[in-house]
Symmetry: C2
Subunit: 103 residues, 2 copies
DNA sequence: CCTGGACACCTAGCGTCGCTATGCCTAGAG
DNA sequence: CTCTAGGCATAGCGACGCTAGGTGTCCAGG
């Protein structure tokens, strides 16, 4: 690990989506709630990130209409679930190493 | 917090230097030891980071000669100690929020 | 009617960061 | 004399987070 292995946004998105499909705006809200207001990601942060994840085959998306509003719903692929597990493990290791230095 | 508040390298450097002055190469070694090999930062990572911290007034440096080899020793300023405390607190909050999402 | 806010998506572009690659130098071992 | 380890430095690349702007719908209030 070279310390630059953070990329926390991707992990956050995977973390939300592993509980079930969601759309961009809803993900932002979910993140805000679950983190008790700490994470308030900009749309310019999560939309490119979602596109990134989709391109990487970790999520799939489909467009649907809810109350006349067009929205794109994202869901984890099997590969996405696996990637989440991997990244969470890496993250925990990273946090542990961090603790060892700054504790 | 907008999730991009990581900047873990700066915190790592402050974390090492708060235990006492050290020079670049030594910091790399200290990080490798304390993290049990997890953190193996490139020189191209830490030197610019140290310059950054110095420019920000968080560390001070002086050149000395050890066994004929020129080296630059860095030490935390009072502001650096304060900044370390702040960043560590922020980091802990960040980790907690992260846990709330990916746990 | 029409304005404003919430919902919802998208993207160009900026600043920064971590890292690679490279260069320069000394000391000591083989 | 060459190689490895110690030691510092920077140019430049790629990626990422975010700002700032754009599009459009729905609904409540004035």
């Amino acid at each position: 690990m070279t310390a630059g292995s953070k990329n926390s946004v991707d992990l956050l998105l995977l973390g939300v989506l592993r509980r079930g499909p969601a759309h961009g705006y809803g993900i932002i809200a979910a993140l805000r709630e679950r983190s008790d207001g700490e994470f308030d990601l900009a749309e310019g942060t999560i939309y490119p990130a979602l596109h990134r994840l989709e391109k990487a085959g970790l999520v799939e998306s489909s467009v649907d209409i809810a109350q006349g509003r067009r929205r794109r719903t994202y869901a984890l692929t099997p590969g996405g679930h696996k990637e989440f597990a991997t990244q969470r493990r890496d993250w925990n290791g990273f946090v542990a190493s961090m603790q060892a230095v700054i504790a």
